[in-house]
Amino acid sequence: MAEPLLAASGLIKRFGGLLATDHLDLALADGEIHAVIGPNGAGKTTLVAQLQGELAPDAGTIRFAGEDVTRLKPHQRAARGIARSFQVTSVFRDLSALDNVALAVQARAGHSFGMWRPASSERALREPARAALARVGLDGRAGMLAAHLAHGEQRQLELAMALATEPRLLLLDEPMAGMGTEESARMVRLIDGLRGARTVLLVEHDMDAVFTLADRITVLVYGRAIATGTPAEIRADDAVRQAYLGDEA
């Protein structure tokens, strides 16, 4: 395998006496969709937060695109191409959907000390923003306040924002949470469409989606990676069946 785009090694994160991340090694190959599954409390969101920079690991290193990013802050990692969608939808509720995405485009467009020209008249911001909205199927909602969008639409908006920053790595924390069947199917198609173009770390409880999308799967239990492999390998893994998939497989 070529050098992975992201490699975490020996990650440890403690919350008091709780070991939320336990000597975790994880490697994401460039262009793959890598799912992380595990029961509630397995430390999935904690892992995502460490990869994005919101949480600092107690030990271990994170390398991204050949650079040690362990000590970098979220905005510095974002500038290097790591984007994240949150488990609990995180958008600008008092801005329109289009302004939400335009702000994401702006984050990629160098500094933002422009103080005279209205951002809404900048085609360099508006057009990529419209394209990203169209990509997630929200082109009809451009002018609506984000707060007025349906729950599923807000999640799509968040994905549009993440995509608009043109990241190399997308950290998606339960993108299907709280979505209806139809919305979920749409989200699966969207993520599937990113295959090869973006590297995706997908944390998801919806096993159908995970096994449809993932090139590889890592199973997390109590902060430890107990198995990593292709969907077929994970399905056949005894330890995984016992620890996690047991009642479903």
């Binding site: 905005h75 933002s112 103080m115 209205p118």
Partner: protein
């Protein structure tokens, strides 16, 4: 923005009235009104500058009056030493308030919420007591300014009408500047950071440096208001920097309507007019001012500006 509703009409009418005011005051032989409205315009600039960080950035600076004092003392101290040229006084005031605002911002912006309010309050009071301790420049009593800033040319600030029109022009200029700023890339970052700080960081914005810039800009604008206040009152006083003055600025912003720029201007007019009217009726005017403010804030959540017309819905553009 081609829609001409009740709000723009009322504002254009107000502007026409402001333009005609020196003439009207002279006609009615009531020079007092010229001074009063000039004072309102000066505080409108201060409130406008505070709205930039409070209304758009949710930075509740409780020490904003400090910059009024810095502007005023820059004029006063230089005049005391015989330097009355505006081209020296004003840049000193502007650079001084910008520098102080940057320093205060550097420390204060490491905190947020209540802590930010308390730290800015503490800085404001520090500067207040610094002014009180300046015995050479009047200390507690303040510093009388015998000669107003000399601008040269036909602009003689000792003429009340000239000062009035200069203040009005500066207010309109700064209002235009702020309107452009909040809609530009910079303003979008400030508003985004107010709306969802976590999301901004995840998108890749180093938000502290944008906030610091906004904080310094607002302080600088308020410093200009201080320069004008000193010229209007012929006086620089520690009282300009007292924390109650900072509180009044916050009241003006909230009363007029946060995050609307024009609202805080209306708020400055309304608060000073209320003070003026009530204090002419009774010595205990503050007892009446409090409940009136509470009622307005309770029944007009988005302030006076919000009452004039409801905010337009978001539209694509």
């Amino acid at each position: 923005m081609s829609r001409v509703g009740a709000r723009p009409l009322a504002l254009w009418f107000g502007l026409a009235l402001l333009l005609a005011l020196p003439g009207l005051a002279a006609l009615l032989d009531q020079p007092f009104y010229l001074t009063l409205v000039t004072r309102m315009l000066v505080f409108a600039i201060a409130a406008l500058s505070l709205d930039l960080i409070l209304g758009y950035g949710a930075m509740v600076s409780f020490g904003h009056a400090a910059y009024l004092g810095i502007g005023a003392y820059a004029v006063g101290i230089l005049a005391f030493h015989g330097v009355t040229a505006a081209w020296i006084q004003w840049p000193v005031a502007i650079v001084g308030s910008a520098a102080v605002a940057t320093l205060i911002g550097l420390v204060s912006l490491r905190t947020s919420g209540v802590y930010f309010i308390m730290i800015t309050l503490a800085f404001g009071q520090m500067l207040y007591f610094l002014a009180v301790s300046l015995k050479a420049y009047g200390g507690d009593d303040g510093l009388t300014i015998n000669v107003r800033s000399r601008l040269g040319g036909p602009l003689d600030l000792s003429n009340g009408s000239v000062l009035y029109y200069l203040v009005l022009a500066l207010l309109l200029g700064l209002l235009l500047l702020c309107r452009r700023l909040v809609a530009a890339r910079f303003g979008m970052v400030i508003r985004g950071a107010k709306s969802n700080e976590r999301r901004m960081r995840a998108l890749g914005f180093p938000i502290v440096r944008y906030r610091l810039t906004a904080f310094a800009l607002a302080g600088t604008m308020c410093g200009i208001a201080g320069v004008l206040l000193a010229n209007l009152t012929n006086f620089a006083s520690p009282a300009y920097m007292h924390w109650t003055r900072s509180g009044e600025l916050i009241v003006m912003v909230i009363l007029g309507g946060m995050g609307s720029l024009i609202g805080p201007i209306l708020g400055a007019f309304a608060l000073l007019a209320l003070e003026e009217a009530l204090s002419s009726l009774t010595q205990h005017w503050q007892v009446y001012l409090g409940p009136i403010l509470i009622l307005i804030v309770l029944f007009a959540r988005s302030g006076i500006y919000g009452v004039l017309a409801p905010a337009p819905k978001a539209s694509d553009g």
